[in-house]
């Protein structure tokens, strides 16, 4: 899972208590990087492997999940659910794809691709200035009893993202947005909990996603930074290559390489 949504903090800065004195969003985002280990520590990391379990709450459906991420924007995620099978998604940095036991293989395009491209950038919190055109502190709100600053992040294209950062810890505790998917616009929110240090970086070990009346709980078993990623991990599956050959194009628009 992505460190963006994870990280956090060790120290706490003194933040104003009055609405009129709300800290700037830039300060809160930079503080988040600091409390999760600091810019230098984050910059040392170039890849991440996360493994854990997931459950559709109230449905009795459970499974294993693994994700691999590497600079600049490569990733591969596999969820293997009991009674369902595998749902995989990923990108080689060029083609964004999904291969589902239920719906089959597909290449993501349009607004959906743009959103995933943004989400696939490694170390997004170090790069938030590149990802969002404006960030603003929208107020103070409580999330599960914890006082938080509410931030509104607006990307160059696509839907704005709302994030909540704990006033006490500086950690990201909640994120919400309307996601562009093939099935339509889906409002969704994520709760991030149970932060623990991994090689000097604070990472959330529990994540709860809610969308379309469903709740998925992800519990992380292990996170490794800069460990060996299997060769070819980010290569396109054969079914996806066949779709690329069929479409005759890899992308709707070029991806900016770092």
């Amino acid at each position: 899972m992505n460190r963006l949504s994870c990280v956090l903090l060790a120290g706490s800065i003194l933040l104003p208590l009055h609405a009129e004195d709300l800290p700037k969003a830039e300060t809160i985002l930079d503080h988040f990087v600091e409390v999760t280990g600091g810019k230098a520590a984050h910059e040392k990391i170039h890849s991440e492997v996360t493994k854990g379990s997931m459950e559709f709450v109230g449905k009795g459906i459970k499974g294993k999940i693994a994700s691999y991420e590497a600079e600049p924007n490569m990733n591969f995620t596999s969820a293997d659910l009991e009674g369902v099978g595998k749902v995989e998604s990923g990108t080689d940095g060029d083609v964004f794809w999904e291969r589902s036991a239920i719906t089959g293989p597909r290449i993501k395009s349009g607004d959906e691709r743009d959103e995933i491209l943004r989400a696939s950038i490694f170390n997004p919190y170090l790069n938030w200035r590149k990802l969002y055109t404006t960030v603003e502190t929208a107020g103070s709100e409580s999330v599960d009893g914890e006082d938080c600053y509410k931030l509104l992040l607006t990307p160059k294209t696509g839907q704005p993202v709302t994030e909540w950062y704990s006033k006490k810890s500086g950690l990201l505790v909640k994120s919400s947005s309307v996601h562009k998917t093939q099935m339509g616009d889906i409002p969704a929110e994520s709760l991030l909990k149970d932060y623990k240090p991994v090689s000097g970086i604070l990472m959330p070990f529990t994540r709860i996603d809610r969308f379309a009346g469903q709740e998925i709980q992800i519990r992380v078993d292990s996170i490794e930074f800069d460990s060996a990623i299997p060769k070819g991990r980010f290569d396109l599956p054969e079914e996806i290559k066949a779709l690329v050959r069929k479409s005759g194009a890899t992308n709707d628009k070029p991806i900016e390489k770092k």
């Binding site: 109230g58 969820a79 293989p105």
Partner: protein, 431 residues
């Protein structure tokens, strides 16, 4: 953000409510309030189709407070739900729900290997599985099932026809109720009485065996057996592929099997997909299967309308698709995902539908236990086809209606399949 958003499920999950230790009338009121609030809070349309739900509550509550019998309570609840004018909202008496298998049936999934439909008020055997106990005993399609152990079938049919007379789910639930009579522990013997092809009484002692298919479990939906049958039919110098399967479940096995059957026949004269008796399963599997037949980007089978959002059932074309004639067979026990698939392909004019009208039960719904011991089924979403029609309550009407008759079965004929094959043969050279 949710990076693990690849799955889309809307399950017909089961949620068991609390059964409190309340007085009879208090239980009635609590049951009434539970049902009323559930509809208010969970109906996929927050406006409830324009019904003044609070007024319905205020009108009926005084009556429920005075209700003196369980039947009176059920009638008032039925009247309340009837104001919605939707078929997927109903109170199922506890005894009937147990009858339908929620209570565990006979305690086993051993099978004698037959399928049945009620035709002209009789339980007629429509198929006999190869090498099944029934096949080994000589049971034939077209025979009439009269009695299972000490249970007469005719009164059961009469009861259901009366109780569910206005429900599009009638044939579906009745078939299930009859088949449950035949199920039990593997190895146990069941005594079955039939009328054979000469209307002579025939008695068979059948030892229940492992049912057909793979056992699979999908969360709280419970255990199910899933099978896919594919075969090649050579007729008039043409090759036609037949694919039938009983549920849209177990995707990690069923989808590759389905894919293999299609891929093996990409040059065939036609493909027949048999969804008769298929009550559905995972809705999104319909789009995965449609991707083998639809080569147009962003084509949809329809839209699922939930309270919070609307989800498009987009088809993902495969790298290589089948472009020839496609026939889909349905009947009144084809429901849910079967209707989404058949109706969607019909709207896209990609398939021709043969058989009889489907169950009109395409809404994702859940079943909850009520405080009075009855159960409450309600929809959590609406499904709208690309043609703009709601499948719920309407179903899929075949392009070619081919009612199943006992006479056809006794003559080893299958009117729907025969019509589909004839249509495919007539399409020669149109590809």
């Amino acid at each position: 953000m949710p990076r693990y958003l690849p799955l889309f499920f809307v399950f017909a999950g089961s949620v068991l409510g609390q059964v409190g230790d309340l007085s009879y009338k208090n239980r009635n009121v609590e049951t009434f309030e539970y049902v009323w609030k559930t509809v208010r809070d969970k109906h996929y349309d927050p406006q409830l189709g324009g019904v003044d739900w609070q007024a319905v509550h205020d009108e009926l509550k005084p009556r429920i407070e005075k209700a003196d019998s369980i039947d009176e309570t059920r009638n008032i609840l039925a009247e309340m739900l009837g104001r919605l004018h939707l078929s997927h909202y109903r109170i199922i008496p506890g005894t009937v729900y147990t009858e339908l298998g929620a209570g565990g049936g006979h305690g086993g999934d051993g099978s004698v290997g037959i399928d049945v439909r009620v035709i002209d008020g009789k339980a007629v055997v429509t198929s006999v599985d190869t090498d099944s106990p029934a096949a080994k005993a000589g049971v034939m399609p077209g025979w009439v099932l009269r009695k299972v152990d000490i249970n007469q079938i005719a009164p059961l049919i009469a009861e259901y026809l009366e109780h569910d007379k206005d429900s599009s789910l009638r044939d579906l639930t009745l078939r299930r109720a009859i088949l449950l009579r035949l199920e039990g522990a593997v190895g146990d013997t069941v005594h079955v009485a039939f009328f054979d092809e000469h209307d002579q009484a025939v008695f068979k002692n059948l030892v229940r065996a492992e049912p057909r298919g793979r056992s699979t479990v999908l969360g709280y939906l419970g255990r199910a057996r899933v099978w896919l049958d594919s075969k090649r039919v050579e007729t008039g110098g043409q090759t036609i592929e037949y694919i039938g399967f009983n549920l849209f479940l177990d995707p990690s096995n069923l989808m590759p099997e389905f894919a293999s059957a299609v891929q093996a026949c990409l040059k065939c004269a036609g493909i027949v997909i048999d969804l008769r008796g298929n009550p559905g399963g995972l809705g999104a599997m319909a789009t995965g299967m449609a991707g083998w037949f639809v080569d147009k980007k962003d084509a949809r089978l329809g839209t699922l309308v939930l309270r919070e959002t609307a989800l498009k059932f987009v088809i993902n074309p495969r790298a290589e698709t089948y472009s020839g004639p496609l026939a889909i067979l349905v009947d009144s026990t084809s429901a849910s995902t079967s209707e989404i698939f058949a109706g969607g392909m019909q709207d896209l004019k990609r398939a021709r539908i043969f058989g009889s009208k489907t169950a009109a039960a395409a809404l994702p719904s859940v079943v909850e236990m009520l405080p009075n011991g009855d159960t409450f089924q309600y929809a959590i979403a609406n499904y709208v086809s690309e043609g703009g029609e709601t499948l719920e309550g309407n179903g899929v009407t075949p392009d070619v209606e081919t009612p199943l008759t006992r006479e056809a079965l006794l003559s080893h004929k299958d009117p729907a399949l025969d019509a589909a094959v004839n249509w495919i043969k007539s399409q020669k050279g149109t590809r």
